[in-house]
Symmetry: D5
Subunit: 97 residues, 10 copies
């Protein structure tokens, strides 16, 4: 089941550089693991920003909450949209359900 | 090159039913043709609405304008978002550029 | 799986009274049928309005789209919120998953 | 009498971890006590967020103010909606009054 | 129990003058009856508008819904705010509960 | 002459407790003095918040500015609405002018 | 006593030309009469629009309501701002009270 | 050439009192100098706020930028509106061009 | 002197096709004449819309009002932004003043 | 391919002056280099602000992201708009594609 999720990262200026680098590394590893599993189906950068548009493929709402709330960068994130998607009647892709 | 486009359809109540059906049929054919060509890469329905989230893959901005403005339902559409996307540094998909 | 859905009804003034009554009757029957099935778990009126706050219990996003888009009053509705819900870690209700 | 209340928690980054844990523990106990009493009738997590949608059942507005303003996390909360609800004419539930 | 309610009247231009006058007369009578009963405690005009700020004193949310939804002008009204009020700890008025 | 004024208090977390208590005490005394004089005609708490809805009765705009800007909590307040009110043609209260 | 009022005119397309011309003529005469009296102290056009920014000098809120609500174009106007003004402590103009 | 400019001052709480007083004094002198020159034609306080509505009379956009960006309080200001004004066809004032 | 102006065209559905074509032709001629004169310096289409971003080069605000309000499509336009521009201190272009 | 990008700079008050000057110098050099290359085609100051309206000419979305995210002031910037532009059918400029 698909969800569009949009996230903007706002890392506080006063956070030490090494702390920032460490949490970013964990974030990358975490996201690539979920992409490998097919949970995080698409991850795009919004051009001209520190935001992303993502498509998650989860079993249900609870799994979506778990995946998002455990993002290492979650404390520094503004989740600007969580939108439930489903198959469009004109879509030619079965997989986009 | 990818763009996220979000559209909401508002067909006026007073439009005759046959006119509505005809323009919807043209819209479906138009969109499926573009999907076949890979231009309209993803077309999802927003659950609980008459809106969609789409990902277009175009050569440039001009082509995006051409594809969107020629949608048969364009006169009855509110284009609520046009967002330029690009590859996210953490994405594991080459194709998502 | 639960979704909060908020709806506001805007019936055009110029619609004949009998047409309005007929579609309202179908809407009531449709909603009470879904409530009987447990799909439409809660339906509250927002005091001082022609809006409602509803909690739907559905299998997935696709079923939510089907239930909402088939509301007889759907053409005259503004769906102002569709929010995916899940169990709160402090909730004492198993059933609120 | 029912109210929908929506809350988003924004705990300042610089707050010491033990202070955060302590206030969260008090919050959980406080909320579960009210749930036991039936005052806090529903508590759902909004998937992909640190927000909740709640339904309170109170005697009157004054009691709602008392319950909300005494939330241990209240100083770190943004109360994004307080909506008075009442029985919907199509509701099949007497208890949803 | 007090509620602040704010209303803006938008009467369609094409409505015949006599129809408008008739519904306005019913609205005035309806509102003055409720004011006499103490239900509609305050009714102020917002200077420079066709809006009002009102304070209702009702038993519960259900009564508020009944009073508002039965306003003769309700079909032509935009209810822009419904806010539950209660006694302020610094208020010197017992009656403002 | 009446004005509706709405205020939300945002006291910075890092302010020492004794400083907060002192300014709140001055605020209460200041507001009750104005209420005694009839300048601050109504002061209601918005249920579920740290906000109030107030009705001021002043000679003119200048006096309103003086009363509001001298609120002890003014530096920590967001004044979310200042609305000029006047007698509604349907009001049965002479005093609500 | 001064108020800033901002107005945008939206004349329905389907209104006959002669009706529009007639109401515009009455509007011009009405506004110039008030300007002569000093009630309508300033009337500026917002460049690139059919809106204006005005400064009214009135006895009280009631007079403001009377002057605005009797504008011939009032039924076709969106009053986007009504702001109570008073003398700025740094102003060198006595007349700007 | 006239511009409406609206400004809200947000001085950080933690700024030392003497620093605040000093910059306010410079601001007052700066603004009164421009008022003397006729550049800052009107300066009104918005009643119930720490905001102002101003009318500037400048040669061109560049001069407006220079005058605003050199306001001593500029670093602590939110410029909420900059609106180009011009003579209204119904205005009786030649000077309001 | 430069202004950024953004416009969205909303032509009513019920307008006869020939009327639409005629006004569009006048609009194109009008805009190309101003472009030739250098008044309308840039005219871009916003990709995926019926909107444009334009840069006007005018003597003053009054001329901007004249050029915009005389657009043949003006009655069907929403002018979403009018922003006064001036030379940026980092700009390498003298002509962009 | 053209993009309109709008940026507002919010430099934290507490940042040391020398740090601010250094990053501003790098920003100016960076932007003038891109202007020389034709990538940053227009850079205007919004009159009365610390914002700019810019037109970028890039190969694709990815290059836009690279140019914007590498702005020395990027950490202190709010990118308020990124809009894909293309040639307007009425434009007389070939170069504005």
């Amino acid at each position: 089941m698909l969800f569009k999720v949009e996230m903007t990262v706002n890392i506080p200026h006063e956070l030490p550089a090494d702390v920032i680098d460490e949490v970013k590394a964990r974030e990358k590893a975490y996201s690539q693991e979920l992409q490998q599993q097919g949970k995080w189906r698409h991850l795009w950068r919004v051009a001209g920003s520190y935001s992303n548009v993502s498509i998650f493929d989860v079993e249900d709402n609870a799994e979506l909450q778990e995946l998002i709330s455990n993002l290492p960068l979650f404390p520094y994130m503004e989740i600007t949209a969580v939108v439930a998607l489903c198959r469009h009647p004109s879509s030619i892709r079965d997989s986009d359900a």
